[in-house]
């Protein structure tokens, strides 16, 4: 269980994430009830079955392409982007594309190897919830992790205008 941060505060995780066990296939895995975050392959294989649910979550791995779900984004209440290792930076582009190009407005959660020192970058590209890795200080992450810098040079999701366009 990771420690969830949402709206700048600790939060309870109300979602279950479906994981395929060995031998299970996207086509045949039993779909649990409740609020579930589905792997991309399960969503693609079982869209018709899943679509009727009131709230749907999607998990993207770092190699998954946003383009492949671009038309479905309105279906999701949450998209979880998985960081297998914190040094795998593909999830930052995934998030930027979801927010900036495809207009995704639901919850965007960073999961996996999510650490204090990457929260600032994650917030900037468009994440708004964070499953901080266990064993790391949640209060300290909330207190200082998001704002090591008081301003930024580049345009990104949180502030589309680069600093040079915001100068007085």
């Amino acid at each position: 269980m990771a420690q969830l941060i949402k709206n700048g505060a600790p939060a309870a995780d109300t979602w279950t994430t479906l994981e395929l066990a060995d031998g299970e296939s996207p086509e045949s895995v039993p779909l649990p009830a409740g609020d579930v975050i589905f792997p991309l392959a399960v969503w693609q294989a079982r869209k018709a079955e899943i679509a009727a649910r009131p709230r749907i979550g999607l998990q993207l791995q770092s190699a998954d392409r946003v383009e492949d779900v671009a038309d479905d984004l309105a279906s999701f209440a949450i998209i979880a982007v998985h960081f297998p290792k914190f040094v795998d930076g593909r999830g930052y582009s995934t998030a930027a594309l979801l927010r900036q190009r495809y207009g995704y407005t639901g919850e965007l959660r960073a999961v996996g190897d999510v650490l204090h020192d990457q929260l600032f970058f994650m917030r900037r590209v468009g994440f708004d919830s964070y499953a901080l890795k266990d064993g790391k200080s949640l209060p300290y992450a909330i207190e200082v992790g998001f704002k090591p810098f008081s301003n930024t040079y580049q345009g990104a999701t949180d502030q589309a205008q680069p600093y040079f366009r915001r100068r007085a």
Partner: protein
Amino acid sequence: MYKYDAIDRQLINERVAQFRDQVRRWKAGELSDDEFRPLRLQNGLYIQRHAPMFRIAVPYGMMNSAQLRTLAKVARKYDRGYGHFTTRHNLQLNWPKIEDVPEILAELAEVEMHAIQTSGNCLRNITTDQFAGVAADELIDPRPLAEIMRQWTTFHPEFAFLPRKFKIAISGTRDDRTVTWFHDIGLRLKQIDGQVGFTVIVGGGLGRTPVRGEIVRDFLPWQDILSYCEAILRVYNRYGRRDNAYKARIKILVQSLGIDAFREQVEAEWAHGRGGPMTITQAEYDRVAAHFTAPAYEAVGEVELPVDKAFQRWLERNTQAHKMAGYTAVTLSLKQHGVAPGDITSEQMEIVADLADRYSFGELRISHEQNIILADVKKSDLPDVWQKAKAAGLATPNIGLLTSIICCPGGDFCDLANAKSIPIATAIQARFDDLDYLFDIGDLDLNISGCMNACGHHHVGHIGVLGVDKNNDEFYQVTLGGRQGNEAKLGKVIGPSFSAGEMPDAIEKIIKVYLENRHADERFLDTFDRIGIDPFKNRVYEGRAHGKAKTAEVEAA
């Protein structure tokens, strides 16, 4: 030169505080070694077997005298009183204590310096021409755009964890002096109908798989360089290999897709960013460019300079044509024979700072050839500058000559080395210590790397030397015909490698072949291009059993 404003200052101060806290958490066990590693690398801090290594940025090579004095002080206070200028506009300290690094960063921040993104798998320091702003062949001054790019790279949220490091060079002259063909992105000035822009070269690099870059876009207006680089970076960040560090540079992605398919992806990506908020505004360009205006040159006529032979030699090799009449750019050689190329002591730094204040408007530059440039010296001051530089060991008249060697730290300092590189450089310098001989040989780049990572740019040396490991012994492989500049290309391997002891003889034989074969006015490279590698090969291996003969010899024994 660029002066920080309030936000620039605030950000580097916040960076110091952030790193101080990261070091504290690492020491307290809250950050594992693996978690701390990328954080310290992005602040220039390597940890090696013998000692840490700390790399300080000199963005696009520009520095003022106060900054150099601070580097002198830091090197004295926290290290052994000297530093090493690298081939990418950085200063490296070889022995600082990890615990001192936050303090060093704080002292650097006071003079608007930092170590941000000087290593790690991120956007590195932008490099450019050491004669930017003063070169007679310059079309535009690349420094304002280099500064705009420095700001854009700083803490870029999407590209802080790339598959591998990413190096950008920008050049504004007809003759490229920034090795744009061998960077992850090389921006090479191009004008069309008076419109200023760049040819964008992508996927070049040296290292263990040397590749000359390819043109991804022939003409890109200057306003679009940030949005276009973002498009390239997004494609790379998403699709560059992450399973093998040796195949993770963008050059491998470009090679595997082919430049045409790569270009299609970049252009498709750029279609979204083009004309967007990252488009550089004229107002921002003007704001930054105002920091790089010409200094208050005096109207001076031509002057009579001493005819003294030693002075004339220095004048010939260590000064450069300048756009302003009566002025010149002086290169202070960090290639004194017998000293590790690129090394400079704290005392020398202070002397250079004094020279800059007195003779060159308080500013100086670092070149990728690991020398220092005083860019705006009045010709009438040259005799004084020469005397003072000479007294400080900074006036070796060897710029562009055989002994002005580019050299990496090698086995004396670097964990990755196959072989030492500095002793090879000093042995060659000792062999060619006669200035008449050296001048007669003329223009020649000799570059040495201690392993295939190629930090010493050996592939693009006219003569390249690469340290290799053979059964745990240090050997050196020699390449000929490499070059930087507009016609950049990789050197060709001459044959089996040499022991350290054989190296000065091998170089001497190569030089002899050139001297015996050259036509009047031919430089080493011209002769090489005309006669090819064979005459060199035959001489160097003359009487030395190799190939089949050597196998036979071994079998007979």
